[in-house]
Symmetry: C2
Subunit: 126 residues, 2 copies
């Protein structure tokens, strides 16, 4: 069995309120996290909630990065899905943890699209 993609779900805790509540900063860091991991950015969409919190997604050629922040808890829920060998989703998560000035990150990786290797020969774009 082989997989089509890697999906890392990261709980990033103890982050700075002012970073997690700044939509422009969160978007900038998410795009830079994608680029720093070697991804190609395709589309971005970010939304600011009232009174606080940001949600957003960066669609990359290799899949996506998504974030939801709770500035009042210093918490960001991040997930990074990548396909192919070029991009390491952990690089993007570590970049975000560093730039959110997080105290700690707990993350796990799940394999997506587990299929017999012979079947995956049909796949393009991976």
């Amino acid at each position: 069995m082989k997989h089509l993609g890697r999906h890392v779900l990261a709980e990033i805790c103890g982050c700075e309120f002012n970073i997690l509540n700044d939509i422009k900063k969160v978007e900038e860091l998410m795009v830079n996290a994608a680029l720093s991991a070697g991804a190609e950015v395709r589309e971005c969409v970010f939304h600011k909630f009232s009174p606080q919190g940001v949600s957003g997604v960066v669609v990359i050629s290799e899949s996506h990065l998504a974030i939801h922040t709770w500035p009042e808890l210093g918490y960001a829920a991040v997930d990074v899905f990548t396909c192919g060998e070029k991009v390491n989703p952990w690089d993007a998560c570590n970049y975000l943890s560093d730039h959110f000035c997080a105290k700690h990150m707990i993350a796990k990786e799940l394999k997506r699209g587990m299929m017999p290797e012979s079947y995956l020969k049909e796949a393009v774009n991976i």
Copy 2:
């Protein structure tokens, strides 16, 4: 311990090629999946790959739905993240599985933002 959100990762298999390769159809079904689960749609972004495949995200007030399709494999990787009690992420996954004419779906739910209940009293917007 209580959680801030529920994150369902769904492997949707045996889907129709023509649905998974049609960006307009995939976007329409993703938005309707969100609405059918009772979510409030905020932003959408979808991208069509060459020669085939679609990636896209629907940002909802309650978090997000994301999809990546491999039409040539009949496979869609879906994840649905929801906060609060109002929206059930499984409703959105089941909607998509039905409307992609899938042969089967394998999905798992992960809790996001697990924290002591006393700590979550600080949270807004949940």
